[in-house]
Symmetry: C2
Subunit: 412 residues, 2 copies
C-alpha cells in the first residue's frame, strides 16, 4: 500500500474535552491503519479562546494585536500537547509542533497574518521517523521571529497550506457537520449532503455563510490544487469532496441554497455625481474594516446618484456614524438604514449560463409574497436580499423549486 | 542618572489575578521612574500550572516530558501577554518574549533543562527601544528548536541568568514574603528580616527549606556575581540583599535557624562491607530520582556496616520498596524506616570555625528533652534530625540561644 500523507484538521468543538481528544486519537489511529502518514492540525479547545479574550479585555479595552497573538496562540499549544499525549498513551509515535516549529512562516500583520511560505523540514523529518505530526493551527511566525495568528478560519488555512507544502494526498477538514449540504439542514429538512462540490461553488457557499469552511482555506486549496474533504469529527461518514469543476460531472441546475441572516442595508440617496464621491465613501468604510457585500448604484439624474449596499448588521451602527460624518462634507441628501434583513442565494457552476434560473428564483419568491430588496449575481450564484423573518420560508421554497429536495430527511 | 538594567522576577502568586498583574505593572512603573531599564520575568498565573498538569494526568498517567514542556510553557506565555497589555494600557512601552524569543538556550533535558547560554540581542534591542521586556520564566529552547522547561524554581533561574547576560545592576526576586528571615516567622515570632546575607548562607537556607529562593538560582547568582535582592511583591520594603561573603561584615555568630518538616529516615543494618555495596544502594535510589540528604555510615564489625540516610517523606514508600528488592540480593540484615521527622539547622558563614557552636546546639536541644537522631555539618551549618512534633520548640529555642531574637515581633 502506498504511504501517502494525509493532513487532518480538527476544530475547537472536536477537541473540546479530554474525552473528545481521545476520540480524535482513535480517528487518527484508524487513518494510520489504512496505511497513511498523518499530519494533524488542531484548534484551541472549545471555549478557551473566548476565555483568554475575556481576560485580555479585563486588562485593556483595546489590547494590542501583537500581545493578543502571544496570548491566543497558547490555546492551540495546549491542544497539541494533550493530543500528542493521547496518541502516545495509545502506543502511537507522535510529536507536537507549534506554528514556528512547523515552519509556518507568515507576514507580520498580527491578528490576520497570511502564510508566506512553509519550511516543512521538521515535519518531514517527523513523518520519516514514523511519527504523527501534531501541529498548532491558526498560528505562524514572522520573519522577525514574532508569533502571529491567521485570523478567522485560520486552522483550516494551516491545514490546507501544510497539505500543499507536503504534497499530501488530500486534506481532511473534520468539523461538527458531516459535510456540505444543499441547504442548512436546520432550515430545510429535505437538504441532502453533497458527495462533491467544486471549489468555486464552495467558495460562494462559504462566503454566503454556509459556515462549514472559511473562504480563505477554500481559496488556498483551489490555488494549490489540494483535494479537500469536509467530514464529521463525530460520525464516520464519507463527507463532501471539494474538486475542480473540470473534474466533476457537469452540473445542470442549482447545487445548493445558502442564506445569511446577519444582514443590514444602507441607502445613500442624492450623492453628487462626481468621480471622487464613491471612492471616498467606500474607502472610509474599508478603513474601519466594514465589509460591504452587495452594492447597487443607480443614476438619479445627471447630477445625483443613489447607492445602496448591504453589510453585516453588527457593523451597522459604525457605518451609520461614519456616513453621518460625511453627509454635509459630500452634500449627501439622505442616508437610510434598514436592518433585520437576510440574503438567500442559489449556487451552482454553469447555472447562470442556463436561461430561466434568475426568473425561476424571482418568481418563486414573489409568488410567496416575499419582497426582493436587492439582487446581485456572479458567474455561479444569484443572491436576493429579503426580510429576515421570511428567510426560512424562502430557503425552503427555493430548495424545492430547484429540485434539491431529498426523498428522505438528511442526517446531520 | 545612570540608566542601568534591573531584572525583576514576579512569581505565580504575584501575578495570580488580573488585579495583581495590574499591581505588578504599577511596581514596574515605579522602577522606571527611578531611572532604570526594566526586564521582567514572570511565572504562570497562580494555580494554572496545576490545572494543566491535571488535564495531562487525565490523558496519560506518565505524560512524556517533551509534551509536558509544550503544555506547561503556555502558562507563562499567557502571563507575559497580559502583563504587557497592562503596561501598555498605562502608556508604558513594553514587549513580551517567550523563552525562545528571549534567547534562553538550554540543553535538551525536558522538564529540568539547564541554561547553556543566553542570546540577548532581541532583549537588548527591546531595551534600546525604551521598552520594558517581559520574559516568560521557567522556559527555554534547545539547539534542536525544542521547547524546554528549567524545572522547579525555574523562573528565578531565568531572572538571574538574564541579569548575568545583560550585566544588570541587580536582580530582584519579588515573592510573597518580604525577605529572608532568621527563622520562619510563622514559627518564631521574634524572627527578624536580614538586610543582607551571603550567597553561601542563602544556599544552605534554600536547601534547608527556607523556601524563598530555589538553590539553583542562588548558585547561578553566585557563579555570575549577580547582586540579588529578595523582596515582597505586595509591600514596598527594602528586602534582603544577597552578597558575596567577602563584601559583608564578618558574621560572628549564627545567621539563622532553618527547618524542614518533610523528612523521613532509612536505616540499613548489616550491609556486607564490600566496595560495591554502598554505590549499588545509592545508584539505585538516584535512578529513581530519590534525593538523599544526610548520610551516616558506621562500621558494625569488620564484615558489616550500618548506613542511615534521610530523605523526603514523600519518597519514603518508593525507597522502602527499592530496598526491599535489594535486601536478599545484597544480603542486607535489616531495613528500618522511620517517618514524622524534621531537620533543624543553624546557619552562618564562619560559624563552624568558632568553637562551641555545635556544643551550644546539642545542649540547647537536649536540655529541652529533644532527642537528636542524626547530625550533619558543613562549612556553614549544623543540622540535626529530630521528631517532627518538636520542630517548633526546637527552632524557637535555637533562635533564642543563638541570640537572633528581635526586640519586636517581625512583620512578614
Amino acid at each position: 500500500m502506498e504511504m501517502g500523507v494525509v493532513v487532518q484538521k480538527y476544530g475547537g468543538t472536536s477537541v473540546g474535552s479530554v474525552e473528545r481528544i481521545q476520540n480524535v486519537a482513535e480517528r487518527i489511529q484508524k487513518t494510520l491503519n489504512e496505511g497513511h502518514q498523518c499530519v494533524v492540525v488542531v484548534s484551541a479547545m472549545g471555549k478557551q479562546t473566548d476565555e483568554l479574550i475575556s481576560l485580555a479585555k479585563q486588562i485593556s479595552p483595546h489590547p494590542p494585536a501583537r500581545e493578543m497573538d502571544m496570548l491566543l496562540t497558547t490555546g492551540e499549544q495546549i491542544t497539541i500537547a494533550l493530543l500528542t499525549m493521547a496518541l502516545q498513551a495509545k502506543g502511537i509515535k507522535a510529536r507536537s509542533f507549534t506554528g514556528w516549529q512547523a515552519g509556518v512562516n507568515t507576514n507580520s500583520i498580527h491578528g490576520k497574518a497570511s502564510v508566506t511560505h512553509v519550511e516543512s523540514v521538521r515535519l518531514q523529518q517527523s513523518l520519516s521517523n514514523g511519527e504523527v505530526a501534531v501541529v498548532a493551527g491558526f498560528q505562524g511566525v514572522s520573519i522577525d521571529g514574532e508569533i502571529t495568528t491567521l485570523g478567522r478560519g485560520g486552522s483550516d488555512t494551516t491545514a490546507v497550506t501544510l497539505a500543499a507544502a507536503l504534497q499530501a494526498d488530500y486534506c481532511e477538514i473534520n468539523t461538527d457537520v458531516s459535510g456540505v449540504f444543499t441547504a442548512d439542514p436546520r432550515v430545510v429538512a429535505q437538504a441532502t449532503k453533497m458527495d462533491e462540490i467544486s471549489f468555486e461553488e464552495m467558495l460562494e457557499l462559504a462566503r454566503l455563510g454556509a459556515g462549514v469552511l472559511h473562504p480563505r482555506s477554500v481559496e488556498c486549496a483551489l490555488m494549490h490544487r489540494v483535494p479537500l474533504v469536509v467530514r464529521s469529527s463525530f460520525v464516520d461518514e464519507p463527507g463532501t469532496w471539494l474538486k475542480e469543476a473540470s473534474q466533476m460531472e457537469q452540473t445542470l441546475s442549482a447545487r445548493g441554497v445558502a442564506h445569511d441572516s446577519d444582514v443590514a442595508r444602507v441607502k445613500i440617496l442624492g450623492l453628487p455625481n462626481q468621480p471622487e464621491s464613491l471612492p471616498h465613501v467606500f474607502s472610509l468604510l474599508a478603513d474601519e474594516h466594514i465589509n460591504v457585500d452587495m452594492i447597487v448604484q443607480s443614476e438619479h439624474d445627471q447630477d445625483l446618484i443613489d447607492v445602496a449596499f448591504s453589510l453585516e448588521e453588527s457593523d451597522g451602527e459604525n457605518a451609520k456614524r461614519l456616513l453621518k460624518s460625511l453627509q454635509s462634507k459630500l452634500a449627501i441628501k439622505k442616508v437610510l438604514y434598514e436592518d433585520e434583513l437576510a440574503k438567500v442565494s442559489v449556487v451552482g457552476v454553469g447555472m447562470m449560463t442556463r436561461p430561466g434560473v434568475a426568473a425561476k428564483m424571482f418568481t418563486t419568491l414573489s409568488q410567496a409574497g416575499i419582497r426582493i430588496k436587492m439582487v446581485s449575481t456572479s458567474e455561479i450564484k444569484i443572491s436576493c436580499l429579503i426580510d429576515r423573518a421570511q428567510t426560512k420560508e424562502a430557503v425552503q421554497l427555493l430548495h424545492t423549486a430547484f429540485e434539491l429536495d431529498a426523498k428522505q430527511p438528511a442526517s446531520v
